[in-house]
């Protein structure tokens, strides 16, 4: 008997010992590292191959640098890997002078033997530009570049000397330099690619990245974490934190809890319903970003009856958007009529508002031949996006709305990267998704989301292709004077409002929550998150 009592006593004393250690010992490894609780798995680590914000957040500003950076005010361009540049008078030739002494990452899978030079720039651009390039086929598509048709805009890229590259364009394009500053225009290592090509392992280029950025990639375990380490020879000086870890936490309530317990230093997308908890909490700060994004409900216009614009317009009228603003966004969003937010200079304020009118929707649907009991699917993602804190709940609200007009909705939910893959096949009826722009230019809301080129590569969620619409966008891009440009963009928005391939829902404010002792996390419009200057006290 005593024996057992002694054991019991031992156990309880061991348990108390555990708990006496509950006060965490301060450790340098914890002080010099930062944990960012992100919302999902990146598809890979190369922003050229995707428009998924999660992939961009995991790669753009951590692993890579661009030739040109957007400065903080985001209107002006600042030198980065390009020390200076020169545009010819006709606007068709752009000379770029590269910085000297920029070192690539040294990792367990690659040891660079040389610094950045013109070959790297040529490789990076030719990789997506020329379909004969050995690395062209190693990614499915290059959505940003292909939707802007940059491969057609660039006529040739020439290496003038080891640190001088010349871009030749087919026509003058005022936005080309801003293009170079977008998140997609990162610079890869040609030496690394050559090594992979020799090993016949081209597909590793995007999964085991090598760049010049402030952190190098160490390890990624799906559904668990991504690890980075500070690049010791970074050309702007080594980052203040040594270790950067992305803790993949898809559930927003979990991220919130982990922020409160201190397991996360920074968390992505706290949802509006949690704001109150965070605002009152000492030790936690919220950072916000203007409502530049757009959430929409896209119909697959390849599939009848969604190929008829009257059906799409009628469905839009069945949508009770006021309830959505209240219950999904908790008032942290603006109603959307166009894809462009009202703050944009090209916003068309004359577009008629979409009004909730189930009776009229029902009449129009019957007139369009949609019988009572028609079945359709709404696809939705399981994770929060900047533009949509809870797309599943939104899908349920829409389901209830559509039940009123006699349509039975089946909601199909997917994990984020699976959803994106499945959408490319255009097997959906409709999907709740959205867009966060990468550039301050208004056409960035329209070209990557709804142009014909985007439909061909599968990133146009409505599979909608209207030559007249594309024509308006092309005219806008070519127009040199402001009013003609605006005019074309306004007409494009009117066309969207008539055709309704997607129903705009809301422009949402987006947030980032962090511990007070973490500073200088860059969380700004038109760009992915950056920990380059982040510090932890």
């Amino acid at each position: 008997m005593m024996n057992n009592l002694t054991k019991l006593w031992l156990i309880s004393s061991v348990l108390t010992m555990f708990c006496s250690g509950c006060e965490q010992i301060q450790d340098d490894r914890l002080k010099n590292g930062l944990i960012y609780c992100s919302e999902g798995n990146p598809e890979n680590f190369n922003p050229q191959t995707t428009t998924s914000r999660i992939t961009l957040d995991a790669s753009v500003h951590q692993i890579y640098d661009r030739l040109i950076e957007k400065s903080v005010s985001s209107d002006q361009l600042a030198p980065a890997l390009a020390e200076s540049w020169q545009v010819s008078d006709d606007g068709k030739t752009i000379d770029i002078f590269l910085r000297q002494g920029v070192k690539f990452h040294q990792t367990r899978y690659f040891i660079p033997s040389r610094e950045l030079n013109a070959d790297d720039v040529l490789f990076t651009f030719n990789r997506w530009r020329l379909n004969t390039h050995p690395f062209f086929a190693s990614a499915d598509s290059y959505p940003h570049m292909q939707s802007y048709q940059l491969e057609l805009l660039i006529d040739d890229i020439e290496k003038v000397s080891s640190h001088h590259v010349r871009f030749k364009l087919n026509q003058a394009n005022t936005d080309f330099l801003s293009q170079l500053a977008t998140d997609y225009m990162i610079i890869l290592s040609a030496e690394y690619a050559a090594k992979l090509d020799l090993q016949d392992a081209n597909n590793l280029l995007d999964n085991y990245p090598i760049g010049t950025g402030p952190f190098y990639f160490e390890d990624f375990v799906k559904d668990e974490y991504i690890r980075y380490k500070a690049h010791p020879d970074y050309w702007q000086g080594k980052a203040k934190i040594d270790h950067l870890v992305y803790d993949i936490t898809p559930q927003s309530s979990n991220r919130l809890a982990k922020l409160i317990t201190g397991e996360c230093d920074v968390v992505a997308h706290p949802v509006a319903s949690e704001m109150e908890v965070l605002q009152d909490r000492p030790g936690i700060t919220l950072q916000s970003k203007s409502a530049d994004n757009i959430a929409f409900w896209a119909f697959n216009t390849l599939k009848p009856p969604f190929n008829k614009s009257e059906v799409r317009r009628a469905l839009a009228k069945a949508l009770d958007r006021q309830t959505i603003y209240k219950t999904i966004y908790y008032g942290m969003a603006f109603p959307a009529n166009s894809l462009l937010p009202p703050s944009s200079w090209a916003y068309n304020s004359n577009i008629p508002a979409i009004n909730y009118n189930p009776e009229q929707a029902k009449r129009e649907l019957r007139a369009a031949g949609i019988a009572e009991g028609f079945k359709m699917q709404i696809w939705s993602a399981q994770i929060e996006r900047e533009y949509n804190p809870n797309s599943l709940k939104m899908a349920e609200l829409i389901k209830a709305n559509l039940a009123e007009v006699g349509i039975a909705v089946e909601i199909v939910e997917f994990e984020w990267s699976t959803l994106r893959k499945k959408l490319m096949d255009y097997a959906h009826d409709s999907v709740l998704i959205g867009w966060t722009p990468d550039m301050a230019t208004p056409d960035n809301y329209l070209i990557p989301t709804l142009s014909c080129a985007a439909a061909v590569i599968g990133s146009n969620r409505a599979a909608w292709c209207n030559p007249y619409f594309d024509n308006l966008l092309a005219n806008a891009a070519a127009a040199t004077d402001y009013s003609r440009r605006k005019d074309n963009l306004m007409q494009a928005q009117s066309l969207l409002s008539q055709e309704m391939p997607v129903v705009p829902i809301a422009h949402s404010l987006s947030f980032l929550a962090k511990q007070d002792n973490v500073v200088n996390v860059k969380f700004q419009p038109y760009s992915a998150i950056s920990f380059k200057h982040a510090e932890k006290f």
């Binding site: 708990c19 944990i35 690890r227 979990n254 317990t261 997917f414 699976t418």
Partner: protein
């Protein structure tokens, strides 16, 4: 004895056969192309596709396809995961130690807490201490595990801020993967000051282990108590008591051993409860084990992973059950006598 073994093995093989049949048919029942569902390879050229169709014997009868499937299963080929494009079996081997580690600690806690308490309650039957132990275990037994886990998180993590709520270790500790068992890997790693790392790992272990151990502990207390009571009532104990042997001696020499024996076959049952609870616990505490893996696979419609984990986890559980049965027979003289009878 031999016949008994054959019977048990027969049960094992029949169940495994049915399971493999189910797992095989899932490849056809899941939406999509069986070629892709079985192999997980999504971007195939036409020739590769035709080759794989040959290997899978998809043009033959279902029977031949099943044989081909078994052949692959025995060589450990469960195809590739849709989402990670790595071999399912390798992912399983990588992830399994985390689950096993958690289950093992929970089992240890269960035994350390459950056996003494059950013994104590049984020996002091109908006393106050018995009533306290028995009612406490009845209450703990009726609490759903996910609720208990969330309650612990609320109290110990969010309110008291004592313990972390997710994962196995602070991710900033970059412990290389060697055995997959974290406490061993920490010992094998070449960090200089390991104490804070152990401490961190233990802090992460407490809540999941306690949550996971609760249900089996109550079961074990109940079993142990019943067994002790029945042994205490038996004639030889009464005889021993009339001989004047002290209670301590009786418990130590006779009761403990005889009460433990019938529990061994129940360990299979206990283990099943533990495995299913492990999956739930892993999901609550984001513990990177099999449960977490399976749930993510379901969310991501990762059919090869669902198919493989179904087969592997259930085979494992059945194997443990049958093993516990056989061991019980080997060590318990009463059952052995019956069999040889």
């Amino acid at each position: 004895m031999f016949i008994y073994l054959v019977k048990r093995l027969n049960l094992l093989i029949t169940t495994l056969f049915l399971l493999s049949l189910l797992s095989f048919s899932l490849g056809h029942l899941f939406p999509g192309d069986p070629v892709i569902n079985f192999t997980g390879q999504q971007s195939l050229t036409y020739e590769e596709y035709a080759d794989i169709r040959q290997v899978l014997a998809l043009d033959d009868s279902y029977f031949m396809q099943y044989l081909a499937y078994l052949d692959r299963v025995f060589s450990g080929d469960f195809g590739l995961s849709f989402t990670s494009q790595s071999e399912v079996i390798r992912d399983f081997v990588r992830i399994f130690p985390a689950s096993a580690e958690l289950s093992f600690y929970a089992l240890v806690v269960t035994m350390l807490v459950g056996l003494p308490l059950g013994l104590w309650a049984g020996v002091k039957r109908n006393s106050l201490i018995d009533k306290i132990i028995f009612s406490a275990s009845a209450i703990a037994n009726s609490i759903p595990i996910f609720w208990l886990g969330l309650l612990f998180i609320l109290v110990f993590s969010l309110n008291l801020a004592w313990l972390p709520i997710s994962g196995r270790l602070n991710l900033l500790y970059d412990i290389p993967y060697i055995s997959g068992v974290l406490l061993i890997d920490i010992a094998l790693s070449d960090f200089d000051n390991k104490w804070p790392i152990y401490q961190d790992a233990l802090r992460h272990l407490i809540l999941p282990t306690v949550t996971l151990a609760t249900l089996p502990t109550t079961l074990l207390i109940g079993m142990m108590r019943t067994n002790v009571i029945s042994v205490m009532d038996s004639q030889y104990i009464k005889a021993a008591r009339t001989k004047g042997i002290s209670l301590y001696q009786i418990v130590r020499r006779h009761v403990l051993r005889n009460a433990l024996l019938p529990i061994i076959p129940q360990f299979g049952l206990l283990f099943n409860t533990l495995m299913t609870s492990t999956m739930i616990t892993e999901i609550i505490f984001s513990w990177p084990g099999i449960g977490h893996w399976l749930l993510e696979a379901i969310y991501q419609r990762d059919y090869p992973v669902i198919q493989a984990s179904l087969l592997l986890v259930s085979s494992f559980m059945i194997l443990i059950n049958v093993l516990a049965d056989i061991i019980h027979t080997l060590v318990n003289p009463l059952v052995r006598k019956e069999l040889n009878g």
